[in-house]
Amino acid sequence: MKLLQNLFDSIKPHVEKGAKYEKLHTLYEGHRTIFFKPSLTTGPTGVQVKDAADLKRVMFTVIVALIPCLLFGMWNVGHQHFLATGVVDATFISKFLLGAGQVLPILIVSYGVGLGVEFTFCVIRNHPIEEGFLVTGILIPLVMPATIPLWQVAMATAFGVFIAKEVFGGTGMNILNVALTSRAFLYFAYPSQIAGDMVWTYLGDQVAVDGFSGATLLSYGAAAAANGTEMMAGLGGHWYAGMFDFWNLFLGVIPGSIGETSVLMCLIGATILVLTGVGSWKIILSVFGGAWVMGMIYNLAGTNSFMLMPAHYHLVVGGLAFGAVFMATDPVSAAQTETGKWIYGFMIGVLTVIIRISNPAYPEGIMLAILFMNVFAPLIDYYVVEAHKKRRLKRATI
């Protein structure tokens, strides 16, 4: 430790005010505080002791909660690859390694580009390196298909960090969720690499088995609605029997974005976030609630077989669970008031299902629903706060 401290101490004179590299001071501090909790103490007045938690630890908690999704995602990329290419005797390790080989480069590009933009801004604006990107950097790969070209990951990350965060003033000031902004950028700029039936399963240079289709359940639904066929009955003819059984969907052994497929892993993450108090259980619960209620409404109104898909299927397909647990709960872009969180989450759930079923252009709706509600979160909060003020005024004049 002493060695590392000495190393930092030897760099310090070169980045202090007035020294040659003074502009790099924030980078120096940022790196030092990763290894060492700083020696800052409380002021002469105000609290003399402070809570042990800081933003670094809170963000680290989210990363810990994301690890199950990440590891499962790596395995599932390999698993789907071997399923699609007809290799039946692939081992757990070979699946995991193949998936990791696809996922890790995406993760490295995401962190590399994102931190690069972050550091550049820190130096230009002379503000400390903020921890927000530690989480964003892992969220971005998890909402990408494993087949995404790395240059697109780099473009999307740079766009997200720059447009969604830095122009607003950095972590804590952004309006939109940064990772979803990155994904939305690709979705509209390069749709053929992030949408459609062929992107979700990594085939490599192998040839898929006969009858293979990379379609997700949602694109099956959209197709059934368009063709007037029976969706749920048609699933029996899927190239891989049992793929879209409810419990298989719940476990997430299906094609999809890297980290979003497994509801089980998302729920493990949710448990960590809720127990540690980092994520709002109100938001998570209300997203699921909103999606289910809207699914039921479609069931009642049902005019095609996609609308008649049992409402609880909405909770286990697509990215709803991942979005509810890790994206909607982003404390900066979500509603801040406790009442507002219920409304915000519920509307995300409702909008997701509306987009899924009623908008033929977008098979999945969670990304757009969250971004849309990010924009509306301040409005929700405004009305909740106004109601609070009215109540306070009434109480004070009694």
Binding site: P44, A53, P331
Partner: protein
């Protein structure tokens, strides 16, 4: 029948080093000081003494330009040894080299019948001349009360819920009579609207036989003992209201002033904190220099000497002086050292209100903790929502209130409750803030903005 309020929100900090209920003899400090900064809302203190002058305990040292009849008096007799000034000649400390035996200025003693016949104006005149008045604090704003106002009520918090706080009943030991008399005088100021707020345990004898007061009981974690939180639950104040608060010790001093005709600045002080070898109580006077109070009773480490508690006290140093309103000294380790991966490593020892990764202190909430002065992280933008709301037991949205202050939005501040809080009420918010903002300073800034608008 006392009214009982059950507060759920809050957080008790189990700081190591609570004082045992025993009084320890010490040799009294030679040096005492009165600090104008202890009193909020002063316009401009005007000196009435100069260096070298001799004063008796109770002789006026200065008055404030804002209300000239209110006198700030010497706690002990002796020679004015030094007047410390800061920028723009602002008075920081008026130091007194104390006599060995205290010589008291004689005020008029009053008999029971005198007191019964006392008018409100006469009572106020006696209190302002007798040096007690600066202990009256006005809400909203937490500033020096104006003697010409008529408050709708006077509130006394008779327990302290801060970390390692002194036992109020112990501080008032043997002062039952003067305390009751003090209450009688307060009734001259706000007839029938004197509130004494107690915790939920059995009522201590000093408060059990009070006449003409409303007793309220508060249960729950800190800040249940903060008078601002108590007022919020008893009868919240708006912009047109004015109430006063006073601490129990000053109530007893009022009694002494009228009964014995002296300004009695003696007080018991709890010597607390993990760096104190024997945490106990010592008897001294307001404004005492800390050095003799802690004497050899602290571990020879890199320690911080705080007048008051660790949430709203002040780092004065071992040669600093006890604040006027402080009945406690806290001595805790300085945390000016780096810790390898300190932001990440799991720990049972690090105290946190949050349950973020690796912070397991919530599993053993009663275990006493040694806390140092490290900020445990760097300052950031407000990021996490919902935590302040979980800790402030008031019908206030703290995050929105703080943001309205930061953006200087007067209407929002007013509507969101700036009139109901002072620094100490939001001290826990500052403690738990993962973004490490100076929230007490933000709130004081907001109060001053509104006061001067």
């Amino acid at each position: 029948m006392p009214q009982t309020f059950h507060l759920k929100k809050g957080f008790n900090i189990p700081l190591a080093g609570r004082a045992l209920l025993s009084e320890h003899e010490i040799s009294q400090p030679d040096s005492f000081a009165v600090k104008p900064s202890d009193f909020k809302g002063l316009v401009q203190p005007k000196l009435l003494v100069s260096v070298g002058e001799n004063v008796k305990a109770g002789d006026p040292l200065f008055f404030d330009k804002g209300s000239e009849e209110v006198l700030f008096v010497a706690p002990v007799s002796g020679e004015i040894s030094e007047i410390i000034r800061g920028e723009r000649r602002k008075i920081i400390e008026i130091r007194i080299l104390a006599d060995k035996e205290i010589d008291y200025k004689a005020f008029q003693k009053q008999t029971k019948t005198d007191i019964n016949n006392l008018t409100r104006a006469e009572a106020i005149a006696a209190l302002t001349a007798g040096g007690i008045w600066p202990s009256f604090i006005q809400r909203p704003f937490g500033v020096l009360a104006n003697p010409s106002d008529e408050p709708s009520a006077i509130y006394i918090s008779a327990f302290d819920s801060n970390p390692c706080a002194p036992d109020m009943a112990y501080l008032l030991r043997g002062k039952e009579g003067v305390f009751q008399l003090g209450i009688a005088i307060l009734n001259k100021l706000a007839k029938g609207n004197i509130h004494v707020n107690l915790d939920s345990s059995e009522i201590p004898s000093v408060f059990s036989s009070l006449e003409e007061v409303n007793i309220n009981k508060f249960s729950g974690p800190h800040p249940a003992g903060n008078v601002g939180v108590q007022i919020h639950h008893i009868k919240p104040i708006g912009k047109n209201d004015k109430v006063w608060t006073i601490d129990p010790l000053s109530v007893a001093r009022i009694g002494t002033l009228f009964m014995e005709g002296i300004y009695d600045a003696s007080k018991l002080v709890a010597i607390t904190g993990s760096e104190i070898i024997h945490p106990h109580y010592v008897k001294t006077y307001s404004g005492a220099c800390l050095d003799k109070l802690v004497a050899e009773n602290f571990k020879k480490t890199n320690a911080r000497f705080i007048s008051g508690n660790v949430l709203s006290g002040e780092n004065v140093g071992v040669r600093g002086y006890l604040g006027h309103f402080h009945n406690q000294i806290a001595v805790i380790p300085e945390g000016d050292e780096e810790e390898f991966l300190g932001w990440m490593l799991p720990s049972f020892e690090k105290l946190s209100f949050h349950k973020a990764f690796g912070l397991f202190s919530f599993l053993i909430p009663k275990k006493e903790k040694v806390l140092d002065t490290n900020t445990n992280g760097e300052q950031r933008n407000f990021t996490i929502s919902g935590a302040f709301e979980k800790i402030l037991p008031m019908d206030i949205l703290p995050t929105y209130l703080f943001k309205s202050i930061i953006s200087n939005d007067y209407d929002e501040m007013e509507a969101l409750g700036i009139y109901e809080v002072i620094e100490e009420d939001v001290a826990l918010c500052e403690y738990i803030d993962v973004s490490k903002n100076d929230i007490q300073a933000i709130v004081r800034e907001g109060i001053e903005l509104i006061r001067n608008s």
